[in-house]
Amino acid sequence: MENQELEILFQQKIDREEKIEPKDWMPEAYRKHLIRQISQHAHSEVIGMQPEGNWITRAPSLRSKVVLLAKIQDEAGHGLYLYSAAETLGVTRDEMLNALHEERAKYSSIFNYPTLTWADIGAVGWLVDGAAIVNQVSLQRTSYGPYSRGMVRICKEESFHQRQGYEIMAHMAQGTPEQKAMAQDALNRFWWPSLMMFGPHDSDSAHSAKAMRWKIKRETNDELRQKFVDKTVQQVEVIGLTIPDPELKWNEEKGHYDFGEINWDEFYNVISGNGPCNKQRLSHHKKAHDNGAWVREAAEAYARKKQKSVAA
């Protein structure tokens, strides 16, 4: 069959809501798009361990310590599931990590912001995970089978993450004046970057249209961002904090909240490497990877020796 013909059959399959599986024929551009998106998603989970890991040793109670540790471990697990999903497309984890280290691959720029106080751990769990969940719930219906199945598992496991963050925020917002100030400050710093997590406006998004046609993405950046704002405003009100956006207002006609414009200059700068922690995050990851090289080699060498001795 000609490629053109195959491509028509492929699109028909997608339109029938059938999942694409690893060995199925797929357009090269579809494969490339998926590898880029899934590996970026995986890197985000793994790099995301750092800003939260920053507070494990300082968590203020034993309960909050184990909860945070379990949550960060989940992020590692989710990174792993996602790398596996990408691996079914013929790329190795090694190649993906190289791309990350050589800055050819990106990760969510939210993790280039620092976690300065304990309240930031609340804000990250509540807002950052909250935004991620909106996106991931939508991605459960993505057209690529392994990615979709990974998302289902991740969504199931992440259901406690957002609660963990909100619980911290709620607790602090009702605590001492200092705690409340910390909570408000964390909300002030994480609100806008959380909205940026959904990416540029649909009109400015290079990959959006194709991804929608292939049903890799099921809802647009702006639709998902709106969903997030709509559900979060009430949660902010319940705990008595204020969203740092004077333009935020309920729009009766639309049935949605209106909100102010994102600082896109900041967004593009953080993406292109100028965020407060870009260099720190990447060098942390590289360092762990390089420090682990001799360990990985040792385990392989041992496996080879044992195999030889079995064969002999």
Binding site: G77, T92, R93, N98, A299, Q307
Partner: protein, 97 residues
């Protein structure tokens, strides 16, 4: 240096969630050998008591049918309805059959 580095071979993980149930594909892990593959599978895929037993198998050792063969492989079974119990007409009133 990192160019020659690698992440160990890939293994597929199958988990039995309860004794008596079939093993189900859970995902994959990287590991240098079978002992470590088993441990890694346990650490990654049973964090929420998902399993009572685990299989791991090198991904390279899995043989999969080709999507191009889908029709030849699976369609012939479609017209063999006599393999299903609902194909047969039972006399009115017969029980336990």
């Amino acid at each position: 240096m990192s160019k020659q580095d690698n992440q160990w071979p890939l293994w597929e993980v199958f988990i039995q969630s309860k004794t008596g149930l079939p093993y189900k594909h859970a995902g994959s892990v990287h590991a240098p050998d079978k002992e470590m593959a088993l441990q890694n599978a346990r650490d990654v895929y049973t964090r929420r008591s998902e399993g009572t037993s685990i299989w791991v198998v090198l991904s390279d050792n899995i043989v999969a049918s080709n999507p191009d063969d889908q029709e030849a492989f699976f369609d012939p079974a479609n017209d063999k309805v006599y393999r299903h119990p609902t194909f047969y007409v039972m006399p009115e009133g017969a029980k336990h059959i």
